[in-house]
Assembly symmetry: C2
Homo-oligomer: 473 residues x 2
């Protein structure tokens, strides 16, 4: 008896393959055929791990693959790698694919096109890195780090550069998470690293005062951060490879260039098929991750918009952790079950240069933009009891709404033990707790783990006092 | 102009002195006189730090004092150490004190008694360790570790024992947090350590399956854990010092004995004055920590009962973190402000033998006792991305109510990065989240800090599935 339905998945990373795995868990191969198309060679990989691969902290690329195509196939998911979906025919319920000449191979040979029909469709096409339309920006040696393939290409360039005599120069354009993590990785590899950002601070995912703490830590590692400096082009040599990154006022030597300018939702196929996109360019879905207005199409991961539960605004938040949750929800629903993804609160954590950085909720500028009145406070406290070996200071900044005292956001910058403390605030945001309520949270206390007032509690106390002091308006 | 009111505080550790400090913050010395009586020599100290002092991980006792009597005095709090309150005269609004002959001195000279009147009274008399009425149990060399004075006495015994030839034997009676932490400290000091507990498992603050993980870790450190073994007495030598701890069936050599049998609320004074006590023996208060039925008496810290927000039952939870919060609330209210302490969710964390142990909410037995029907699940996950150096496994056990899916409790046993993850569950319990809601919590993800499914999220997924599977009844 042939399978009664076919689920087709476009995109073989976190969202797509989590959906596949979850759907398979709920419905066996005799009920549901699952076909997943991936244009690259890898499935279910951790792009977040690329900086650690570049710095040789972890091996790659295999270690970064959570589940290979073969492992997916062994679990009853028909994965077709190096096969790109090039058209969606929604009325005809089919997708057109273009396969490289040799499946899972080098891509050599003639590409083959064909149509595959579906009963249910999942779009998990991810995001594409921003590569500005500037002279030299697409030269070889100018790399993005979005996929494992990108990581492989970058490492080939580095191997090439490292055959030359020292010193080696790297320029990272964009001082967000990826940019700063890549800067550290390249510094650990022995490069002289400059990070450029057109903003006035590194790490604009933090408020300016917190971002400056990141700049200091980078400087401590010998990384030169140049802010207020937008790239105007890449100067290349006769071999076509980079020599320098140019800005309005300056020239920064570069044997290799990494672009960390952010990503945009990859929705070319979806847009061509007339599916609805939000202001961020991401696909619009309902709470079950079904594309709005469609009964048989779901979408998740970096190609969709998600709701920020604090601001009430939709936005594009490309993070693997959301993609995995989306996949879980989509797989459940596409298999006939029920699950929802209510939204995000804006949590992000990173480790850079021995510094732990975390945020959740809204920054000051975001809170203003959302129409909120708020107070802001900041405390410094230690990760363990002050007398306990290894206690390290951290700065906790907290935003709370005036009048209601509701928590709006937390930023933490510190050393060991700082980043994951933001999780307490993430749950508090989800539950819409006030900072006053947070002061009595029953958080774990023991000298090796926390002072008797955990830094988050200390921050809540100060924020609650500021709310009272500010009065109702 | 003399102060218009006097606030008298009985007990100079966390709850009492936090209340004093907070009241002083809100009202100056010209408005409120604050007098605090402490029968020992120290104020505002961390008894939780004693095991680390014994193992020489931290220095003591000064490092364990957050604020000394002199520092309190410099902030306008009239602290009188070595001065015991021996009677409360509530109708007369006064307390009778007995001061050692020489204030802050050795206690030599003749004790002096006097009465001090108050307008507002704070009882922060703490807890007293359980010392069973058995032969030899009060011998010198049999120690509790409740106060810094107890720590000093234990260290004098250890110095004495360490003049003798090796091997040195220590027996710890009671395998709860303090017992296990002390066992580790003594093992680190080079003692052969046996821990006795009359229960069938060590660490009865965890479910039996989780407690066994603690036994394994202790064994790995060479500590012998004997369960199902209640002490029947201490055998002493001609010098009156311990030689062994006796049980029904056995004799365990001991040069020093540490009792970790728990504590009881110290409410002798309060009971004699007719103040209301709960079933646990702790003082009963309202949400503002005011003693029930009284307008001018507050109580907090280890001498009161607190509400468990998950079970709805009151109980005795003697932890420094609660005592500090109580003090904060009492100080605010006693100074004419407004604050409340809503209760606890039962969080406790500890580090033992390189093992991190955490719990919050209810154990299985407690949930049954509270009349709840529930499901129980357990997962093992890593502290960081599996491929990231330093990733260590942890076991997360989760209890959720049937029908509603509400989170009831979490226990975590693991290595680095395990304990403080319980905070996420503590906030979820406070907010009464369901395990299904927890599956979409926006927790921080980055390879050095967490796998893409944080262990708590992985546990919530499994628990949510178990709730669905169990059905409504």
């Amino acid at each position: 008896m042939p399978p009664t339905e076919r689920l087709v998945i476009v995109g073989g990373d976190a969202a797509g393959m989590s959906a596949a795995a979850q759907a398979r868990r709920l419905r066996g191969p005799d009920e549901l055929e699952i076909v997943a198309f991936e244009r690259g060679a890898h499935t279910s990989y951790s792009a977040c791990g690329i900086p650690y691969w570049v710095s040789d902290t972890v091996s790659g690329p295999d270690a970064l693959v959570a589940r290979s195509p073969a492992e997916h196939r062994a679990r009853g998911v028909d994965v077709r790698t190096r096969t790109e979906v090039v058209e969606l025919d929604l009325p005809g319920r089919r997708v057109r694919t273009r396969a490289a000449g040799e499946r899972d191979g080098s891509g050599g040979g003639e590409a083959r096109e064909s149509w595959t029909s579906y009963d249910r469709l999942v779009l998990a096409t991810g995001a594409r890195p921003i590569r500005p339309d500037l002279p030299g920006a697409d030269a070889p040696g100018v790399h993005c780090v979005q996929t494992l393939g990108d990581g492989e290409a970058l490492l080939r360039t580095l191997a090439e550069v490292e055959r030359r005599p020292e010193p080696r120069h790297a320029v990272v354009v964009g001082a967000g998470y990826i940019g700063v993590e890549m800067a550290e990785a390249l510094a650990l590899r022995g490069y002289r690293v400059t990070v450029l950002d057109k903003a006035d601070q590194p790490m604009t995912t933090l408020d300016p005062d917190m971002g400056e703490l990141v700049r200091d830590a980078m400087a401590g590692m010998g990384i030169n951060t140049v802010t207020g400096a937008g790239m105007t082009g890449v100067e290349t040599g006769e071999d076509g490879l980079p020599r320098a990154v140019l800005t309005e006022d300056d020239r920064h030597p570069a044997d290799v260039v990494v672009l960390g300018l952010g990503v945009r939702p990859e929705t070319t196929l979806a847009a061509a098929a007339g599916l609805p996109l939000g202001a961020s360019g991401g696909l619009l879905t309902d709470l079950g991750m079904r594309v709005r207005g469609r009964t048989d199409v779901w979408a998740g991961g970096d190609c969709v918009e998600v709701l920020n539960l604090v601001s009430g605004q939709p936005g594009h938040v490309p993070l693997g952790t959301h993609a995995n949750k989306h996949g879980q929800v989509i797989g459940t629903n596409a298999a006939g079950g029920y699950a929802t993804f209510p939204g995000v609160v804006g949590t992000a954590v990173s480790r850079v240069c021995d510094l732990e950085i975390a945020r959740t909720g809204l920054l000051e500028a975001q809170a203003r933009e959302a129409g909120l009145r708020f107070v802001t406070t900041s405390v410094t406290a230690t990760s363990r009891s002050g007398y306990f070996p290894g206690a390290r200071p951290m700065t906790v900044k907290m935003l709370a709404e005036r009048r209601t005292g509701r928590l709006l956001g937390v930023q933490i910058v510190g050393r060991e033990g700082a980043a994951k403390r933001v999780d307490v605030a993430a749950v508090a945001l989800t539950a819409k707790l006030t900072v006053e309520q947070m002061t009595s949270l029953d958080l774990g206390y023991a000298p090796p783990f926390s002072p008797v007032w955990d830094p988050v509690l200390a921050a809540a106390r100060k924020a609650a006092a500021a709310v009272r002091e500010a009065g109702p308006d």
